[in-house]
Symmetry: C2
Subunit: 229 residues, 2 copies
């Protein structure tokens, strides 16, 4: 066993990316429509093969950049899927990554080129291979992660209202939250800065804008937050 590598089996290794976004109402996933075989015309996660000189993280970043035009996207490795016949063309292992992007910041041209579209979680179509499974796992991970670590800020504009943040959490966790309890919890974390500005678009009264304070957040790291919302 393990004496030499010569006789061992090699496989294709792909990364597939679950890209989450938020549009003030729904949590969404960015899917592409395949214009190549197999399963041409069907919806799928954006993916690509691992290349010789890159790590899986590199590959995921590359794939994400290709579709969104964005660098330094928040992402996390999710799981490696390896059913023998998951890909009908040839044995391919898929290491999945989930990513979180600001739905307003990505490059809309690229999206067109790839026939990509945002789908609300409740409206995700049948995907190729085991991609529905992968999405499910990503959603569950995102939910868990969100209740431990406030990572959702990538999904919002730089300045946002408490209401937007609350809607985001409601979308991610798929449940209603009491607004007073929510605000108290968020404030107790002490990682936001309240601005003097108001957003006047959603009401006559206007609502204060907040910014995520990266520095405060970093200082508190390690303390995990356990939002328990």
């Amino acid at each position: 066993m393990l004496k030499g590598y010569f006789s061992e089996y090699k496989v294709f290794l792909a990364v597939d990316c679950i890209i989450f976004g938020f549009d003030d109402e729904d949590l969404k996933v960015l899917l592409i429509q395949r214009d190549f075989e197999p399963e041409k015309g069907k919806w799928s996660l954006m993916g690509g093969f691992l290349k010789k000189e890159e790590t899986l993280d590199d590959a995921a970043s590359r794939v994400l950049f290709k579709l969104t035009g964005m660098h330094n996207i928040y992402m996390e490795q999710l799981y490696s899927f390896s059913e023998v016949n998951r890909d009908p063309v040839d044995r391919t292992i898929s290491t999945s990554y989930y990513a979180i992007v600001n739905i307003d910041k990505h490059n809309k041209e690229l999206i067109k080129n790839y026939n990509a579209k945002w789908f609300s979680l409740s409206k995700i179509p049948d995907l190729i291979f085991d991609h529905n499974l992968i999405v499910d796992k990503a959603v569950r991970r995102l939910r868990r992660r969100t209740s431990i670590n406030p990572i959702g800020f990538e999904l919002l504009p730089e300045k946002f209202t408490m209401r937007q943040l609350q809607k985001l959490y409601e979308a991610i966790l798929d449940k209603d939250i009491d607004k007073r309890n929510f605000i108290n919890k968020i404030n107790s974390m002490d990682i936001l800065v309240k601005l003097k500005e108001k957003d006047m678009s959603s009401s006559t009264k206007g609502s204060y804008l907040y910014k995520f304070d990266q520095q405060k957040y970093d200082e508190k790291q390690g303390n995990n937050f356990y939002l328990k919302i």
Copy 2:
């Protein structure tokens, strides 16, 4: 992109297993001493290459069986490590699994054949490649998982005392726990059966033995436990 697979790069895919055990005192990891190059003589995780007709789970089960002689070991996929030069011989991606075994039930002959040895967490030597990193990640995952889901029972004999269970938790979480609070918490989960038997080996008074009740546990699944110890 993705047109054909022909031109794409293939890699070796290995599974490496972090095998946890518990000896009534310490949480331990089973390591093998390599009797082959590279890094002959150094300690390492037990691993093996993915084969043509098996999934990663299959491969991990196979590797675990090879070293312990046990089937149906509790295990969970951990993470895929992919640094380009992590393996000096040839590019190899490692998908790691952590496993939890009863330290008294595995086959001691096999362990000898592999020059394997149990190491307490605090005494893990320098391992080959990135294996120390992998072990760290496994320990962190085990700690988190243990506080959400009571999975530690695999580490104990079928019948065990509250004291043993508490020591196990203390070993996993690496902290002291108040015995009354611990018992209350465990009892509130209602997944153990208290037996009439006592274990007389640890004290003159003897202490009651308990059994894990798989059925009750299954009924409660989905409710996650959040031990918060």
